[in-house]
């Protein structure tokens, strides 16, 4: 049984119907454990106080905002190369989640930044890049919504996603060049000498896993919904033709 069999809409729906309860259950469990642990059972940071705890929402949502775009890029390439409808619809489904994650990262960042930096917003490279990413998500979704022919919409949005990815990376470097920022370095990275200490780290990883599961559950449900919408349209067309 190959992975590509799930490119068949029927199989995909069957799979997603089976998986969604488990994935969403897992997401709820992980998020509950990670957030409760993070909020109530970790010490306050010696410099940032309890404000630091917003990290459990901020870091996972920011990571997802970027990773979802990468996933859309992969799905778009699969659509353009192998013409699997499910792939294009999954990209659209993911974009809806991605834009919410981006807003969440921006919002939690502002809430965190206010007491720490004394300002809700600064034109820091990271913040600016997320704002630009948000605009890319908006354009992508708007293009999907504007085109009636579903296959043409899938084609055009996929090309936009490809071109947009290149320009998103360019913008990241341009923004770095334009302004060196306030934002602290990466919270989690494998090669950094100074990482966040273990007490904070463990619940954070659980939260990230919870966000991934939440994303997976949402994408499965949304993709299945898109497939069902297409199916209704196909049935209506057939009925009109008969």
């Amino acid at each position: 049984m190959s992975f590509w069999e799930f490119a068949n809409p029927r199989r995909f729906i069957a799979l997603s119907d089976r998986l969604v309860p488990w994935v969403s259950g897992l997401a709820a469990l992980l998020l509950a454990v990670g957030l409760i642990w993070g909020f109530f059972f970790t010490p306050d940071d010696f410099r940032q106080g309890s404000t630091v705890k917003i990290i459990y929402l901020h870091v996972p949502s920011a990571m997802m905002a970027i990773n979802i775009w990468v996933m859309m890029l992969v799905a778009s390439l699969i659509w353009l190369i192998r013409r699997h409808h499910v792939s294009a619809l999954a990209a659209r489904a993911a974009a809806g989640v991605g834009v919410v994650m981006t807003v969440m990262a921006l919002f939690t960042g502002a809430v965190w930044g206010q007491p720490m930096w004394g300002t809700w917003w600064a034109w820091d490279p990271r913040l600016t890049s997320f704002l630009i990413l948000f605009l890319f998500y908006l354009g992508y979704l708007a293009l999907w919504a504007a085109i009636e022919d579903p296959d043409a919409a899938a084609d055009l949005t996929s090309v936009l996603c490809l071109v947009g990815s290149v320009f998103a990376v360019l913008s990241r470097y341009a923004v770095n060049f334009w302004n060196q920022g306030l934002h602290q370095g990466a919270t989690l990275s494998l090669d950094a000498e100074e990482n966040i200490s273990d007490v904070f780290w463990q619940p954070l990883v659980i939260c990230i896993a919870g966000f991934v599961m939440l994303f997976l559950a949402l994408v499965l449900v949304r993709t299945a919904t898109e497939i069902r919408l297409r199916r209704i349209a196909a049935l209506e067309r057939r009925a009109a033709h008969a």
Partner: protein, 221 residues
């Protein structure tokens, strides 16, 4: 290719509208800024590079939808697509024609409008060159956006939404070069990066534009 370039220039000039409109818009935005921020020379001088760049960018945006819309409506685009000209060349040539009719006049007008914002005379050459290089990139990127939205009835607003994020790197490097020149700092790096983006866009984006045009032509039946 030369024929298409000349035809587009001729149409832009005869149909009027287009390129005069962009220039007038540029002028009006620049005139409005001092009313908004106040008449202090120092403030205006400091923000002049950014204002001129943003205003030129918006003025170039105004005429983007005309790149393909007319050829789409009267069927020329489908006929061009079946002609010996590759669509990639059509996209590049049309971007070049758009640049000559909007980007170049804007770049030439910018140093003059810079006087209104008390921009230093010594900065004018950098402003001119950065806009000449930058608006070519903007035209090529904008052509891609125009190709994406050509099949839509009310694509204008969507076109802006799609294209503006793609304009960010060009705007950053272009305005940065002028700002550095104004501060007496070396401006070679941002200017080179600006040129790099424009060259990269010219080399690669026509392929994306042509692919997108083919999709739109296919779906238009």
């Amino acid at each position: 290719m030369k024929a298409l370039f000349l035809r587009d220039l001729r149409l832009a000039i005869r149909a009027g509208g287009g390129f005069g409109l962009g220039l007038a818009f540029f002028l009006i935005v620049v005139v409005l800024v001092p009313f908004g921020v106040g008449p202090e020379t120092e403030v205006l001088r400091r923000i002049a590079p950014g204002i001129l760049w943003v205003a030129a960018l918006l003025a170039a945006l105004l005429t983007l939808d005309r790149i393909f819309a007319l050829d789409w409506e009267d069927g020329s685009l489908a006929l061009l697509a079946t002609s010996p000209l590759p669509l990639e060349a059509v996209a590049l040539v049309k971007a070049a024609a758009h640049w000559v009719t909007t980007g170049v006049p804007l770049a030439v007008a910018a140093p003059v409008l810079g006087i209104l914002l008390s921009l230093d005379g010594s900065v004018a050459p950098v402003l001119l060159i950065s806009l000449l290089i930058g608006t070519l990139g903007l035209s090529v990127i904008g052509t891609f956006g125009a190709a994406l939205t050509v099949g839509l009835r009310r694509g204008g607003l969507l076109l802006s939404l799609l294209v503006l994020p793609l304009y960010v790197p060009t705007l950053i490097f272009g305005a940065e070069a002028v700002r550095r020149a104004g501060d007496g700092q070396p401006f070679g790096t941002p200017l080179l990066l600006l040129g790099g983006i424009t060259l990269g866009a010219c080399a690669l984006l026509p392929f994306a534009s042509a692919a997108v045009l083919r999709i739109n032509l296919k779906a238009s039946a």
